[in-house]
């Protein structure tokens, strides 16, 4: 009996160890792929070939332009609702002088980069990664295998660059829309509030806050660009490109985004 119990415990421990090692290896691969993509993105050789440049430009366009309209509409609606809630609450408590600061901090600094990243991940990055994986599986079924370098440079880099660019552009545009809506909500169409408004915005964007905001948005874009691609480039235990779980990939991406958000919050407010 005791021997059986020991063997069961040993088996479960082995299973847990294997899972932990696999997870650790998986995260290591993500980090390694991120480093490789960043190196490739910074290398001029990646853009020498005209065909490669065309591919990157096409991906950038396809990752950004179709999402732009609806994302801006959605972002404007969400921003308007949040701005109205914050301003009305602040006014009702006699704290209207803090309303703009709260709006800029919550909306522009925290929420917009987060939902821009998640929007691009759900609408472009993850579906695209699945498509690439399916095509890779099809190619392998046809007996065509690609080298890692080739896969990185010709397939993953354009998608990663496009996703990162899309996150950055959508976040930037959405921030501008939110700032304009904040002004219009608080001051209306009068131009006389511009000075006070600029002062309030400038008060929020101190040097550390601006730096943290920029880094956070950059890391969000990198996470959205790389984490789904890492799963794409990763073979199964039997060496094939079979379809993985969407939820697992989303959870992995979300955990990275959440980690970046928590670190940025710590940097901003502690």
């Amino acid at each position: 009996m005791a021997l059986h119990f020991l063997s069961l415990a040993q088996a479960s421990l082995l299973h847990l160890g294997r899972r932990a090692r696999a997870r650790w290896a998986s995260w290591l691969r993500v980090l390694l792929l991120a480093a490789q993509i960043i190196v490739l993105a910074l290398a001029s050789s990646s853009y020498r070939s005209g065909r490669q440049r065309q591919t990157i430009l096409r991906h950038i366009y396809l990752a950004t332009a179709p999402l732009l309209t609806w994302f801006l509409v959605l972002s404007a609606l969400i921003s308007l609702v949040l701005i109205r809630i914050v301003v009305a609450t602040a006014v009702s408590y006699g704290l209207s002088q803090y309303a703009l600061e709260v709006v800029v901090r919550t909306l522009v600094l925290e929420l917009i980069p987060l939902y821009a990243a998640m929007f691009v991940a759900v609408r472009y990055s993850m579906p695209n990664a699945h498509g690439i994986r399916e095509r890779l599986a099809g190619l392998e079924d046809g007996g065509i295998r690609r080298s890692e370098q080739e896969l990185l440079q010709a397939v993953l880099l354009p998608c990663a660059l496009a996703a990162a660019f899309s996150v950055l552009l959508l976040a930037a545009l959405s921030c501008v829309v939110a700032l304009v809506l904040s002004y219009l909500t608080v001051y209306g169409l009068s131009p006389w509030g511009l000075s006070a408004y600029t002062h309030s915005v400038g008060k929020v964007f101190s040097a550390p806050v601006t730096l943290i905001f920029s880094l956070k948005t950059l890391f969000f874009s990198l996470a959205v660009a790389i984490v789904p691609m890492a799963a794409t480039a990763q073979r199964d235990s039997d060496g094939r490109y079979s379809r993985g779980s969407d939820i697992t990939e989303l959870a992995r991406l979300f955990s990275v985004v959440l980690l970046v958000e928590v670190v940025s919050l710590l940097g901003n407010y502690y």
């Binding site: 065909r51 065309q54 096409r58 080739e150 600029t198 964007f205």
Partner: protein, 341 residues
């Protein structure tokens, strides 16, 4: 992925490329938009932070810089005119708050300006400038001033102590053996008595017997008052009859006299008497006219008497002079002159 790859042709990612017209132009526009957004945002933030604005420095000294943050505003009349650039600890243990004041707003700061640091119950610390005399010389660049502190939070312990005392008093007031509770019980008893058959009288006199006695006495008093009122009516009727003479006699015969009619007769008689007096006075006036004439004659006679008197006096002086002459010339006259040797 580390397995040796078989020979393949290098193909880009998407094997089923969608045809995008003017791809390069559109992608370049997106890249340009991105660049413009980043540059414009950076420039706007720098402008909002006052990077392009000329400033002058002001140093405020405080014994405690708690609540002061880099980047917070210094206001004048509610307008932000400066911003905390740095906070440092001086050699004497005081906090030095270095403030960048916009050059175009520095005119509001004068050499006599006062600076305060306030901590409210809501919101952060506020630094404010007050300039009472705007004709004073402007505050020089790098000026060092002491800051005055006002802390609303410092009042909180005293406020808490007062509230605690108030609560204790309230607890004592509302305790089971408190005077307030006893008073309320008594008030309840009183209201119950008020609702009883004797009402407020029962409350005032204490018991039912006294209240009944008071009611009986009051009834007797009212009866006597009724009788008295009848007598007063009779008295008024008599007075009416005496004064006006119009009242009917008990047998229905109207009385013709009365004080008023007699008075009227008397007034008529007085009028006649006054007419006679007026005639007598006219006669007296004539007599007085005569007397006035007599007095005028007397005044003239008195004037003549004065002249007569002066004549007599002159005659007497002459007689006296004559007597003196006779005495001087007479042989036995005395020598009146004294001759000196």
């Amino acid at each position: 992925m580390n397995e040796s790859p078989p020979p393949t042709t290098v193909r880009p990612a998407d094997q089923s490329p969608q045809v995008v017209k003017n791809l390069e132009l559109k992608a370049a526009l997106l890249l340009l938009l991105m660049m413009a957004l980043v540059l414009a945002s950076g420039a706007y933030v720098l402008y909002a932070r006052g990077f392009f604005e000329r400033t002058q420095q002001l140093v405020l000294l405080a014994d405690d810089s708690e609540g002061v943050l880099v980047g917070m505003d210094m206001t004048f009349a509610g307008f932000p005119i400066g911003r905390v650039a740095r906070i440092e600890l001086a050699d004497d243990g005081n906090a030095r708050i270095l403030i960048d004041v916009k050059s175009r707003d520095a005119r509001w700061l004068r050499s006599s300006s006062v600076f305060t640091m306030e901590r409210g119950l809501v919101g952060g610390t506020r630094i404010r400038a007050f300039s009472g005399v705007l004709n004073d010389p402007p505050l020089e660049n790098g000026a060092v001033r002491q800051i005055l502190r006002g802390d609303a939070l410092a009042e909180l312990p005293r406020l808490a102590a007062s509230v605690s005392e108030l609560l204790e008093n309230l607890t004592a007031l509302t305790a089971a053996d408190a005077a307030l509770l006893a008073s309320l019980a008594n008030l309840q008893t009183v209201t119950e008595k008020l609702k009883g058959p004797q009402g407020a009288l029962g409350v005032l006199l204490g018991n039912e017997a006294e209240a009944r006695k008071l009611v009986e006495r009051t009834s007797a008093l009212l009866a006597r008052a009724d009788v008295l009122t009848g007598r007063l009516d009779s008295l008024v009727a008599n007075a009416d009859r005496q004064v006006f003479g119009q009242a009917a006699r008990p047998h229905g015969v109207a009385e013709q006299g009365g004080l008023v009619s007699e008075t009227r007769t008397t007034v008529k008689q007085l009028n006649g008497l006054l007419a006679e007096v007026r005639g007598s006075l006219q006669k007296v006036d004539a007599v007085l006219v005569d007397a006035q004439a007599i007095a005028g004659n007397t005044r003239a006679a008195t004037t003549d008497l004065g002249a007569l008197r002066s004549d007599v006096e002159a005659t007497l002086r002459k007689v006296e002079h004559l007597v003196n002459e006779v005495n001087r010339k007479w042989p036995f006259a005395r020598e009146t002159e004294i001759r000196l040797p």
